[in-house]
């Protein structure tokens, strides 16, 4: 008898617990005349890849506020609903489901990473909702899915930019050192695939863990094959350790990095070891160095100033992805009356949008929309970036 009572009690507690989830208010309606457009944001705001998600979240807030100040879209205000997925695919799936089902958003921006994006994609396809990812992986837009777009420059472009520079230096043999996660893996794939067209041979490809403490063993292994250059592909702080290790080992082979470290933080972390490193970056990092004729310059300067004013922190190279996504969405929303198919078509037909990451030209077969001009090559000299023509 006692046991039944206990178990019944337990069940009551459980039922209450579950019921409590349903009571949490999903959101509060704003009081504009026309109903606001709800846009979902999904970024890895905390967790190991927060360096991506955090500025993306801030930039989304910034873009939404700018649009609302300017009177919204056809009188509709934008409302951002932003969740954190911590870079965990399971959490991303839950959060995306919440955005679609509970918050009834009309479009989703994010997630920040390739795996989280891939995890969310089946749901987005089923719900038929415009979706603009902020992740770099090429798998996201190839093959093209009608509902899936992305604003971050693909690895393909970054690799092409690096390889074009390598070719101009008449380098033939390269060694690769990539981080053992989705970012590094995707980069490695492109680096290996594109080597032949540029007349390059990969003599050795090594990897390192994103929390590794010392990479001299990998570098030693690569050095054995005497490459003309080493390409390192990762995000901070790993590549900074690589740069330091190469300096310590007294290796003079030129080091190339990926756009993953394109932030002032890298120079700060690597210190003198950063000297002479060459890397591709979106133009945001070198705004002041750009010629005035550059069509992106004004957009970049405005964004930098607004970000600085709103958050009092220096602008990051990654926040632009979500800023672009919102701007593109806003253009597509214009005149769509919130109809999802119309938004989708709006994005697909958008041409010549000048954004932070480049100039976007979408088409039914091209859902990233960026060309090779999205990247510029820079060299670090005296602790400063320097444009390479």
């Amino acid at each position: 008898m006692m046991r039944t009572k206990k178990i019944r009690l337990l069940f009551t507690a459980l039922t209450l617990l579950i019921a409590a989830t349903f009571l949490i208010p999903s959101s509060v309606l704003s009081e504009t005349e026309k109903p606001s457009y709800k846009i979902g944001g999904l970024f890895s705001i905390t967790g190991p890849t927060s360096f991506l998600g955090d500025p993306e979240k801030k930039s989304m807030e910034l873009a939404v506020e700018q649009i609302n100040k300017a009177g919204g879209i056809n009188g509709h205000m934008l409302e951002a609903v932003i969740y954190d997925d911590e870079g965990d695919p399971s959490k991303a799936v839950n959060a995306a489901s919440k955005l679609i089902e509970s918050d009834k958003v009309i479009a989703i921006v994010g997630p920040s990473l390739t795996p989280t994006t891939l995890a969310v994609m089946p749901m987005v396809q089923k719900a038929q909702i415009p979706f603009i990812s902020c992740a770099a992986g090429n798998k996201i837009v190839q093959p093209v899915d009608p509902w899936v777009f992305k604003t971050a420059q693909s690895d393909i472009l970054a690799v092409a930019a690096i390889y074009a520079h390598l070719k101009s230096q008449n380098f033939k043999k390269i060694g690769l050192l990539t981080v053992a996660n989705a970012f590094g893996e995707s980069g490695k794939e492109q680096l290996v695939n594109q080597a032949a067209p540029f007349g390059l041979t990969v003599v050795k490809a090594e990897t390192f863990g994103d929390k590794d403490t010392d990479m001299t063993a990998q570098i030693t292994k690569i050095r054995q094959d005497n490459p003309d250059a080493i390409v390192c592909w990762g995000t901070n702080p790993g590549p900074a350790v690589v740069a330091k290790n190469i300096q310590q080992l007294g290796i003079t082979i030129p080091l190339y990095q990926s756009h993953g470290v394109a932030s002032p933080k890298f120079i700060e972390l690597a210190g003198t070891a950063a000297e002479g490193i060459i890397l591709p970056t979106g133009k945001i990092l070198v705004t002041s160095l750009l010629p005035d004729t550059d069509p992106q310059k004004k957009v970049l300067m405005d964004y930098t100033a607004a970000y600085d004013a709103m958050f009092k922190t220096p602008v990051s190279g990654f926040g632009g992805y979500s800023y672009d996504a919102i701007q593109i969405l806003a253009k597509a929303l214009n005149g769509s009356d919130g109809d999802k198919e119309k938004i989708r078509q709006g994005i697909e037909n958008l041409k010549g949008h000048v954004g932070i990451s480049g100039i976007f030209n979408f088409s039914p077969t091209e859902h990233n929309g960026l060309g090779s001009d999205a990247f510029v090559m820079v060299k670090i000299k005296n602790g400063k970036w320097e444009l390479i023509e």
């Binding site: 046991r3 039944t4 206990k6 178990i7 009690l9 337990l10 069940f11 507690a13 459980l14 039922t15 617990l17 579950i18 989830t21 349903f22 949490i24 705001i45 905390t46 969740y83 954190d84 870079g87 965990d88 695919p89 399971s90 959490k91 799936v93 839950n94 959060a95 489901s97 919440k98 679609i100 089902e101 509970s102 390739t114 795996p115 891939l118 995890a119 994609m121 089946p122 089923k126 992986g137 798998k139 053992a180 996660n181 989705a182 590094g184 893996e185 995707s186």
Partner: protein
């Protein structure tokens, strides 16, 4: 008789939830609770009853998920055919690993299972031609059985909770039998259990294998729910989360596993509201629960109820 009533109540609850909740997000969260309950249940058999800790159980979860993914995508098998193979794969790995590992004890057993979990996770990540590598495995088909499609959240909820019920019945029956008594005996005192004729080594291995099988089932259900898997999901962190579910819910308590899994699935959803403070609050809750209810929520709540009743 009493048990039948309880099971009927359980079925009723699931049916009601499936019938009245139309918001797919809530259904999905409930489905995740079900999957986590399977994981906690399996691990609880090992930790709560056989008294053996495992810090690498996410590996079996992953083996189940990757096995079905590989079979259904690369070899175009039917998922229903892949299910027994996925479970068999986990069971076999558990057997091979269990024989030497279960000879260890205490923290060394924790270390041994942890190392095993790391190795399996690295295999998922590095064998990219088969597993899709760090970016993950895409294109896992949704489940369907004849005319019934499980791509609707309702049906999937029923499927997952059906499996949960099946496993609860299974565990209950084992616990209430000669084998279960021997298991509880091992937990109370391994020396005495051996002295009454229990082959502790063999029994521990059997339970290890059983819990691996249940984790693999959970992995199968996860893979076909999300239709995407990546090594991240089956990392060391997940193993720790599983242990936490068991301990928070209550060791050696079947309903405790349900409670622990519910709490640890719902907590992050609730804590979204804290944004930046989420981690701090989550850590605090874990600590506070363990400090004040060290026997887990089930026992802890029952104790409190009992005490208040006595004081009345």
């Amino acid at each position: 008789m009493r048990v039948q009533i309880l099971y009927s109540f359980f079925i009723l609850m699931v049916a009601l939830a499936g019938h009245f909740i139309s918001n797919a997000y809530y259904l999905q969260v409930l489905t995740f609770i079900g999957i986590n309950t399977l994981l906690a249940l399996g691990l609880n058999m090992l930790m709560g009853y056989a008294g053996q800790i495992s810090l690498g159980h996410a590996a079996f979860y992953g083996i189940g998920a990757y096995a079905t993914a590989i079979l259904t995508v690369h070899f175009s098998w039917s998922p229903w055919l892949a299910l027994p193979v996925a479970i068999a794969a986990a069971v076999m790995v558990a057997y091979i690993v269990g024989v030497p590992t279960l000879k260890l004890s205490g923290y060394y057993l924790g270390m041994g299972t942890l190392g095993f979990g790391m190795i399996i996770n690295i295999i998922f990540r590095e064998w990219s031609s088969v597993t899709g590598g760090a970016s993950g495995f895409v294109g896992i088909p949704a489940l369907s059985l004849g005319p019934v499609s499980f791509s609707s959240r309702q049906n999937y909820l029923y499927l997952v909770w059906g499996c949960v019920l099946l496993c609860i019945v299974l565990c209950r029956r084992i616990i209430d039998s000669r084998v279960g008594r021997a298991l509880r005996a091992i937990h109370d005192g391994e020396k005495a259990a051996a002295a009454v004729g229990v082959d502790t080594q063999k029994l521990k291995l059997q339970v290890f294998v059983l819990s691996a099988g249940m984790s693999a089932l959970a992995g199968f259900l996860y893979a076909h729910l999300v239709c995407f898997i990546s090594p991240e999901t089956f990392s060391f962190i997940m193993s720790i989360r599983m242990v936490t579910m068991v301990v928070i819910g209550g060791m050696a308590s079947i309903w405790g596993s349900l409670l622990g899994a519910s709490l640890l699935t719902l907590l992050p959803e609730w804590l979204h509201a804290f944004s930046e403070f989420e981690m701090v609050v989550y850590g605090l809750i874990l600590m506070i629960v363990m400090i004040f209810l060290p026997k887990g929520l089930t026992r802890g709540i029952l104790d409190i109820v009992e005490r208040s009743r006595r004081s009345l």
